[in-house]
């Protein structure tokens, strides 16, 4: 069901999210809007979610992705969306938060944020304390909180796994071939390319 349109977060959920956004976007000059209510935009269809997540992955690893990197990652995200409903949900929630936080920074969406805005949004996501006692308690009490924390402990590590096992990670290191791609074992007898 990769083309199913994800449901936008409710206004109530958005307010909860905004409540958690104490550190939002300060470094990128978005602080003023961070304390206002965020207006959550639906992240769009599955394709739009993928595009947002690919940009997020790039920012998460401090990389400017090439078009080929983006295509490879997008194809893997497509597989994920198609075959794991729970993960797809977590990733969609993440995309929606990214869009909301981008709006909070005054941008039209996460994809069009500038690099420093993207970085501060990534910082905010990464600093969600999902291990705390209150996080665990709140996750049991409401679906909104569960979604909020799951996007951090489920979606983010999953996207990190996808990136680090994808051609994008290996290309960045100067590799022309990576695990899963056929080659010649005699290659190991000679030095490879250096880190660009």
């Amino acid at each position: 069901m990769s083309d199913e349109r994800p449901k936008p977060l409710s206004r109530r959920r958005l307010l909860i999210a905004a409540g958690f956004s104490v550190l939002a976007c300060g470094a990128a000059g978005c602080g003023k809007r961070a304390r206002q209510e965020m207006v959550l935009k639906p992240a769009g269809d599955a394709g739009a979610v993928r595009r947002i997540l690919v940009v997020f992955i790039g920012a998460l690893f401090g990389r400017t992705l090439t078009a080929q990197d983006a295509d490879d990652l997008s194809a893997r995200l497509d597989d994920l969306q198609a075959s794991d409903t729970a993960l797809n949900h977590d990733c969609t929630v993440l995309a929606q938060y990214l869009e909301a936080l981008a709006q909070n920074c005054g941008a039209d969406g996460f994809e069009v944020c500038n690099a420093s805005q993207q970085q501060s949004i990534v910082d905010e996501i990464m600093r969600i304390d999902f291990k705390s006692y209150s996080a665990r308690l709140l996750s049991r009490l409401s679906r909104e909180h569960r979604d909020y924390y799951r996007m951090r402990w489920s979606a983010v590590p999953q996207l990190a796994w996808i990136y680090s096992h994808s051609p994008a990670a290996w290309r960045a290191r100067g590799y022309l071939r990576w695990p899963g791609v056929k080659g010649d074992w005699h290659d190991i007898l000679a030095p490879g390319a250096s880190y660009p």
Partner: protein, 519 residues
């Protein structure tokens, strides 16, 4: 329901042991029923399986059946860590070799006589020399690629494939080894360095747990050979639940259930349990067979890996261009102090992905990019595979409170270390510190004091001994007190040495096949 056919041989478990024995028996014209709890895997799906792993992570092989494979574990009470059985075995046609590393070692001749030589462990009732011809045959069955080396035990036949040479990364350790006076050599692998037995040469997919080329041996190869003979019936997704033993000590039948809980019995002239050390012991315990001296399930042994590593600023490695690292050393296997500690083998590694440090180091964004640039390809690691002494308290029992899919008690794991194991691990840690220091690794980020893992090598539980009071099977793998029931696999090892066990497992399987059906 009873199977209409009566087989010459009924084998429980289609892993390395069961597959080799089935292939040998059918080669000699015997009919075989091969009972396998897990499913068949299609070779053609391996690339898709690999890609699935690269996206979703988790276990590389989708084999776990939550209810069939349930177990309990109290190892953390005795050794401080849990034993994750599900990632240390694979149930399916081909068994654990579907995801093994394929690293090949023979036990050292001294491993068969540790009690006589060092006063530790127990002696095997058979010697290295008795097993040697079977080691050589096993090399050829599995298609081992190896290079002879003086540090390795004597052999009567050359390897079937040339060994993999040292990579540029491996070569980094050579000056250090020379400086320390320790002999290093390239390990052998059950991976084809050249095309062999209809299987491709290694194509450097660097993904050996799911080898898409088939260059790495897996035991489904021998299952297929047995089936091709027309003499072997494979019962997959079928769990052996009880051995039906008569008062005279002869097995009458094996009771099995399909995963849909359809029950039947399968009969034969001889029976071999080859269900890996945990399930082999469990089946004997469930069947109340062979346990008159309370030995079944005891002396469960693993190999404990003491690992350490760090980054070397002025060196550059090229990890993950092939699927395996080759260099190892037996320099600390022996020594004056062997009465005080067990053996150990050293392996040198280079793979550690800085990107995987994201959560533990709290780094992301530009910091992560810098961290990866700084550290990728600079990792130098050492692992000591250490011996685990036989210990009656390290054991597999039945858990009376937890049942599997069929309502049978599940295996309960309880690993235990003795003082000598602690000394062995301490000794390994000292060696790690010394080697890493000499290699110029300043920031040891993986601390040998805290980093311990297991080899996924299940040994003991049905120990081989001529004395029925001290073991479960005799020197020919026959269960004491029975006439036609045999156990084979790592479960019969009286001691485990400190090397990968599967070539010894294969050699014992071939020896048992010869015993049953002399050529």
């Amino acid at each position: 329901m009873s199977s209409a056919r009566r087989y010459d041989l009924v084998i429980i478990g289609a892993g390395l042991t069961g597959a080799l024995i089935a292939a040998e028996a059918t080669r000699r014209g015997r009919t075989v029923a091969l009972i396998e709890a897990g499913q068949r895997f299609s070779f053609a799906t391996r690339p898709a399986q690999l890609r699935h792993h690269q996206i979703f992570g988790g276990l590389m092989w989708p084999y776990v059946h939550a209810e069939r494979d349930r177990y309990t574990d109290s190892s953390h009470q005795s050794i401080g860590v849990a034993y994750a059985l599900e990632s240390h075995r694979l149930k399916g046609v081909g068994g654990s070799t579907m995801q093994w590393g394929g690293r090949i070692s023979r036990l050292m001749p001294t491993d068969f006589r540790t009690a006589s030589l060092y006063g530790t462990g127990t002696d095997w009732p058979i010697s290295y020399d008795e097993l040697e011809p079977y080691y050589s045959r096993a090399d050829w069955e599995l298609g081992v690629s190896g290079s002879p080396h003086q540090a390795l035990p004597p052999r009567s036949r050359e390897y079937p494939n040339p060994g993999f040479p040292l990579s540029v990364d491996d070569a980094m350790w050579l000056p250090l080894a020379e400086q320390l006076g320790i002999a290093v050599y390239p390990s052998a692998f059950a991976i084809n360095s050249a095309p062999f037995a209809g299987r491709s040469q290694c194509q450097a997919f660097a993904a050996c747990a799911v080898c898409p080329s088939g260059a790495r041996y897996s035991a489904d190869v021998h299952v297929a050979a047995a089936e091709r003979s027309g003499l072997c019936d494979l019962f997959d997704n079928t769990v052996a639940r009880r051995i039906d033993l008569t008062a005279s000590g002869a097995v009458r039948a094996v009771q099995v259930s399909s995963l849909q809980k359809q029950e039947r019995e399968i009969q034969g002239t001889n029976y071999v349990i080859a269900a890996h050390a945990v399930e082999s012991a469990r089946l004997l315990l469930l069947s109340k067979c062979g346990n008159h001296s309370d030995q079944v399930g005891r002396n469960f042994m693993e190999h404990i890996y003491v690992e350490a590593g760090g980054h070397i600023a002025n060196k550059r490695f090229y990890p993950r261009r092939g699927g395996y690292e080759v260099l190892e050393s037996l320099a600390y296997y022996y020594g004056e102090d062997r009465r005080e500690r067990g053996g150990m083998k050293i392996e040198f590694t280079f793979e550690q992905d800085p990107l995987s440090d994201m959560e533990s180091h709290h780094i992301w964004g530009q910091s992560m990019a810098r961290y990866d640039r700084k550290n990728f390809g600079r990792w130098a690691g050492i692992a000591a595979e250490t011996e685990h002494q036989p210990n009656p308290d390290s054991r597999v029992t039945l858990d009376p409170y937890v049942a599997d899919l069929f309502g049978d008690p599940v295996p309960h794991m309880h690993l235990a270390f003795s003082d000598i194991d602690h000394r062995t691990q301490r000794h390994a840690r000292d060696i790690m510190q010394q080697l890493l220091g000499q290699a110029g690794v300043k920031d040891v980020v993986q601390d040998p004091l805290t980093s311990t893992s297991f080899g996924a090598h299940h040994l003991g539980t049905c120990r081989m001994s001529d004395d029925p009071d001290k073991g479960v099977v005799d020197r020919d793998c026959k269960v004491h007190g029975t006439t036609n029931l045999f156990v084979a696999g790592g479960s019969v090892f009286p001691t485990g040495g400190a090397v990968q066990p599967s070539l010894t497992i294969a050699a014992i399987a071939l020896r048992l096949a010869d015993h049953l059906y002399a050529a």
